[in-house]
Amino acid sequence: MITQQMALIPDNSVIEMKEPTLLKKVINNQSIKIEHLDVYIEDHHILKDINLTIPEKSITCIIGPSGCGKSTFLKTLNRMHDETPEVKISGKVFVDDENIYSPGVNVIDTRKKMGLLAQRPCPLPMSIFDNVAYGPRIHGIKRRKALNQTVIQYLQYVGLWDEVRDRIRTSASRLSIGQQQRLCLARGLAIEPEYILGDEATSALDPLSTKKIEELFIKLREKYTIILVTHTLRQARRIADHIVFMYLGKIIESGPTEEFFKNPKKQLTKEYLSGSFS
């Protein structure tokens, strides 16, 4: 135990590492394109003919009243519906120009491209270190030095390193809920995704932690394409570059944030923005 900890107290070269080296490769030409997507859960038509292109290296916020299919939509992007056979999906979702629902596509590869940040933080039942190291480990990084480096990097990136460096081998469940969410973000980043999905990722957090996460999203936008589901309009306004407004399983309107909030084109959007329903 002690020796492991010793190994973790990094020599200066590691700790001085700066952000530019965060992503080993900055991936260009990220693209998500959705064509004629329909989703049924049992007999309910949840998503109706969704057509959407997500702009790369920017934050796209999906808003809409609860039950409009936001989360269902998000789950189609990393094929989490595979686990529930009641869900039937038709249509095409192109990620990096490959339809992830065509046969022969490996679901592991698809999910590895998507870092998911869930509504409630869910640390794995292991130490802080192992939480971040879990992804790289299962995807094949075995060397201790490389793992240490990766873990420290991403913990630094989400601003958690200084808070946890003394107890990196202790259970992650003892962190505060805000810290847990940042840990989950670090864990997601450690699998080196191209896209980041957030499912109301701040709804369980206090304002201060929310702010930290939001700042991280803005920082991450430089390298990643980010898609967030949110139920607070204010958050969308604060951080989004693009807005997609969904209602009853359909996309009603989408566009750049400023445009969207200043000049909504559809009557339904106006009503939603004015708060007459939610």
Partner: protein, 267 residues
């Protein structure tokens, strides 16, 4: 109503009290450290170490088999089969029924199976039969805690690109307290049951030295000693009963402790 509750509590105390009252005088160090000597069943010296060791061998063997089968099964019906799967409910239903099958039927079946396979009454026979007896209990108990687990953890793991097998390895870590509870419950049931081992494990005054040698068990040892006309031997039966009861009490309390710890961890 309070009266009936008190009576039930009273009966429990009465049962344990009776066993202790009659058994304590005969409970000597020899009882737990020696195997039966010559003339043990006529009241001469010796102890029931053979039965204690035999019982332990059998229960741990059975535990190994049934854990190896139970854990994958419970993981399978919870994480591989869909939530409303018919197959899963059929399996759960048949587990309920298997749980209700009397131990004497397992004993008879186990014996028939052993004849078919050409195994004599032995440690191995006892292990296999007791494994069948405790498996449904373990599976049901583990299934219950697994069903309580929230979907967050599996989802988090899958979204990191883990395969289901890798996912289950992590989930099992989370389930360890529940697994321990299931194991302790299974030990409690398996170690006290006489009817399963009656024909399958045989009986001997020696400590079994291989899987194919017969093995004594505590419940049977109590039963046989009680059947003796010699009073001293009968008293030893009560003393052996104390040993068994204490083992069960310890198991029961630790099972309770672990399951409460688990529920704390959950919230």
């Amino acid at each position: 109503m309070i009266l009936t509750a008190m009576i039930i509590l009273g009966v429990l105390v009465y049962i344990i009290g009776t066993v202790f009252y009659r058994g304590l005088p005969a409970l000597t160090l020899d009882m737990v450290t020696k195997v039966p000597g010559g003339g043990f069943y006529l009241g001469k010296e010796g102890g029931v170490l053979n039965a204690i060791i035999g019982s332990l061998y059998i229960i741990f063997g059975a535990l190994a088999i049934s854990t190896v089968i139970s854990v994958p099964l419970v993981m399978y019906i919870n994480f591989y089969l869909p939530a409303k799967s018919l197959f899963a409910s059929i399996i759960r239903f048949s587990l309920d029924i298997l749980f209700g099958v009397p131990s004497i039927v397992y004993g008879a079946f186990g014996f028939a199976l052993m004849i078919y396979l050409g195994i004599r009454a032995s440690l191995l026979g006892g292990i296999i039969t007791v494994a069948m007896l405790i498996m449904p209990l373990m599976m049901r108990s583990l299934d219950e805690v697994t069903r309580l687990l929230s979907r967050d953890l599996p989802d988090a793991l899958l979204s990191l690109g883990a395969t289901k097998y890798e996912m289950i390895k992590v989930i099992l870590k989370q389930l360890i307290p529940g697994l321990i509870t299931a194991i302790l419950l299974a030990i409690g049931r398996g170690i006290g049951d006489a009817a399963t081992v009656l024909f399958t494990a045989g009986y001997t005054d020696n400590i079994p030295d291989s899987l194919s040698s017969p093995a004594a068990t505590l419940p049977l040892s109590i039963f046989f000693q009680l059947g003796s006309p010699v009073e001293e031997v009968q008293n030893r039966a009560y003393a052996s009963a104390i040993i068994l009861t204490v083992m069960i009490l310890i198991l029961s309390f630790s099972a309770r402790y672990f399951s409460s710890k688990f529920s704390k961890h959950k919230i």
